[in-house]
């Protein structure tokens, strides 16, 4: 069928606006990358606006020499790995029984869990609890209070329910225990949803700063995001400037470059994972929306 004139105009504007939106999203990201690779002088003067000018990796060298950033990075890796493992195990432990139709009391338990979405004690009672448990300023405070997310339990349960019943029933008739059914039949079929869960939780851990802000006091335990906050938002970079031994103006300049480089370093793992993230995340949103 031929497109009418108004339709062709519509299509043109449609492409035009979508391209503008994509450019608006991508430009700040490109700018940060280019600024991190440029001589900071040109960034401050505004001469660098798209591609790197006077290419240099100076800023990255300074980032990787900085003790605080390295410690923060390692801490975040630890919190992310341990936290994600616990999260995924807990999500499976909750989702599998709840997916079974012959699991008595599942409606009640589900309500018990979903209730916490709508009613929570809030910041202060939770803080007092953590304090009473002696978890303040420990490694585990970054892991245990967020051991599992309700929404992810729902996603995983929905996936488990989509596995054909007959598979599990025939195993049961063969005298398979529930543990073995979960381990040998259900989990091997659940790789896609486990991947989604790993990514959901890992991105959450990597990016969170709130938990650390409230519960941690020692700088050596800080995750990368809190260090980033000190550098980017509070402008605390005295120790970094001292180590450089340059003139005041040069210091100001290298601080500027360092800010852009540290933005990139903080997002490096996410950038490398992005192709997977995108595919699996979209899948996760779809599974979730079926029941949501």
């Amino acid at each position: 069928m031929r497109e009418s004139k108004t339709d062709r105009a519509f299509i043109f504007f449609n492409y035009f606006f979508l391209t503008v939106i994509a450019l608006l999203v991508i430009y700040p990201l490109v700018f940060v990358v280019s600024a991190s690779l440029s001589n900071p002088q040109y960034v401050i003067s505004g001469e660098m606006w798209l591609w790197p000018k006077e290419f240099t990796v100076d800023a990255y060298e300074k980032v990787f020499k900085n003790k605080d950033i390295i410690i923060g990075f390692m801490n975040t890796v630890k919190y992310t790995v341990v936290g994600t493992v616990l999260n995924v195990i807990m999500t499976i432990l909750a989702a599998y029984p709840l997916s079974r139709r012959d699991f008595k009391g599942r409606g009640l338990i589900m309500a018990f869990i979903v209730f916490t979405i709508f009613f929570s004690g809030g910041l202060i009672p939770t803080y007092l609890l953590i304090k009473d448990l002696g978890m303040l300023n420990t490694f585990w405070v970054m892991i245990i209070p967020n051991a599992v997310a309700v929404w992810n339990i729902i996603i995983m349960r929905t996936f488990f329910q989509s596995i054909p019943h007959e598979l599990q029933e025939s195993a049961m008739i063969d005298g398979c225990s529930n543990f073995r059914i979960l381990w040998n039949i259900v989990l091997p079929l659940s790789f896609p949803v486990i991947a989604v869960m790993v990514l959901f939780y890992a991105v959450g851990h990597w990016n969170s700063y709130f938990q650390a802000l409230i519960y941690l006091q020692d700088q050596e335990k800080f995750p990368l995001q809190l260090i980033l906050r000190q550098i980017l938002i509070q402008g605390q970079m005295d120790d970094m400037i001292q180590t450089t031994g340059e003139s005041f103006l040069a210091q100001q300049l290298s601080v500027e470059g360092l800010k852009y480089a540290v933005l990139i370093v903080a997002n490096l793992p996410m950038l490398m994972l992005y192709p997977f993230l995108q595919r699996y995340f979209v899948k996760g949103v779809m599974i979730g929306s079926l029941k949501g």
């Binding site: 432990l93 916490t116 007092l128 051991a147 529930n178």
Partner: protein, 326 residues
């Protein structure tokens, strides 16, 4: 006559016996199936313990909002004071400022951040070239994976008096604006950076809903001479309306639940008059100043308002649109 009534009674008794038996049987079966699946209860028990400790115990701890919490006396031992903390909050001079800022940011976000993903999904749905569509999606989903600290850090770098934006302002002959410390700019910066970060990701759910539209409807409309725009208005939008309503309820219900994370990072001494919201206030007075009972009361007030909002919007949606959460 007596015979009949006796008969009736014996029949009733028989029935009752039968029912009792059936009940006993059912109960035995119930226990049996629990016994059979004992492993499932073992599996889920750590999760239940987690929820009791980290979600239900804080709910119990909320009673300190009505008490004068003294750490050495514990939650139970602290004396009751009724609504004292609530009254203090309502009477304080910052009460209306907090409400104004919280509602203002919430409503502004809802008004801008909510419709844009719908428009983007409708536009992407009209794109025929799959490669172009994929490209746009890959780009606009990306900011979703940046952390709040990174987004605010970028915002500050771009908006400094000698940052990218002000250089452009100067280029066009304007005078640089101190966006970051100017209270008047706070809400716009908050909302539009939020749009930048979330519009792509939020559009996914609508794109999925649009994929389910029956192409036969479009073919029929095309034969009747409907333009693309008309088909969007009359076919696509009605098709995704239930999704829109559900998400609107959820979003409108959280209008007063303005998140702590981003506001706190964007906050500074100079823009406080526009940027202080309930959640940052609770953090300051509770965690930093250790006024536990008072800030627990403020937090409780906020969650009650949130819950009322959710129920209200849900009721309205039910009446108007016959779609609702429950």
């Amino acid at each position: 006559m007596t015979n009949v009534s006796e008969n009736v009674q014996s029949v009733k008794k028989l029935e009752a016996d039968e029912r009792k038996k059936a009940k006993r049987k059912a109960r035995a079966k119930w226990w049996k199936s629990i016994w059979q699946n004992w492993e499932l209860y073992v599996l889920i028990s750590p999760v239940i313990i987690y929820f009791i400790v980290f979600h239900y115990f804080p709910l119990y701890g909320l009673q300190i909002a009505f008490k004068d919490f003294i750490a050495s006396k514990g939650i139970l031992g602290s004396p009751w004071v009724g609504f004292k903390h609530f009254e203090r909050f309502f009477d304080s001079y910052y009460f209306w400022r907090l409400i104004k800022n919280t509602v203002g940011i919430g409503v502004f976000t809802l008004a801008v951040s909510f419709p844009i993903p719908i428009i983007i999904a409708l536009m992407l749905n009209e794109v025929k070239s799959l490669r172009y569509k994929k490209f746009v999606q890959t780009v606009i989903y990306a900011p979703h994976f940046l952390s709040t600290v990174v987004v605010v850090g970028m915002l500050l770098l771009f908006l400094k008096t000698d940052g990218l934006i002000n250089q452009a302002v100067r280029l066009f002959g304007g005078t640089p604006i101190d966006f970051i410390s100017e209270p008047g700019w706070f809400k716009s910066l908050y909302v539009f950076s939020d749009v930048w970060q979330t519009m792509g990701w939020s559009s996914i759910i609508y794109i999925a809903a649009l994929a389910a539209v029956d192409p036969a409807q479009h073919e029929a409309a095309m034969i009747d001479g409907a333009s693309r725009f008309q088909r969007i208005i009359h076919i696509n939008i009605p098709a995704i309306m239930p999704t829109i309503v559900i998400l609107f309820i959820l979003n409108a219900g959280s209008v007063m639940a303005v998140g702590f994370e981003k506001v706190y990072l964007m906050q500074n001494q100079l823009n406080m008059s526009a940027s202080d919201v309930i959640s940052t206030f609770v953090y300051r007075s509770g965690i930093l100043e250790a006024q536990y009972s008072f800030s627990a009361a403020v937090g409780l007030f906020n969650s009650i308002i949130n819950f009322i909002m959710l129920i209200m919007v849900n009721q309205i949606a039910k009446k108007v649109n016959e779609t609702s959460l429950w």
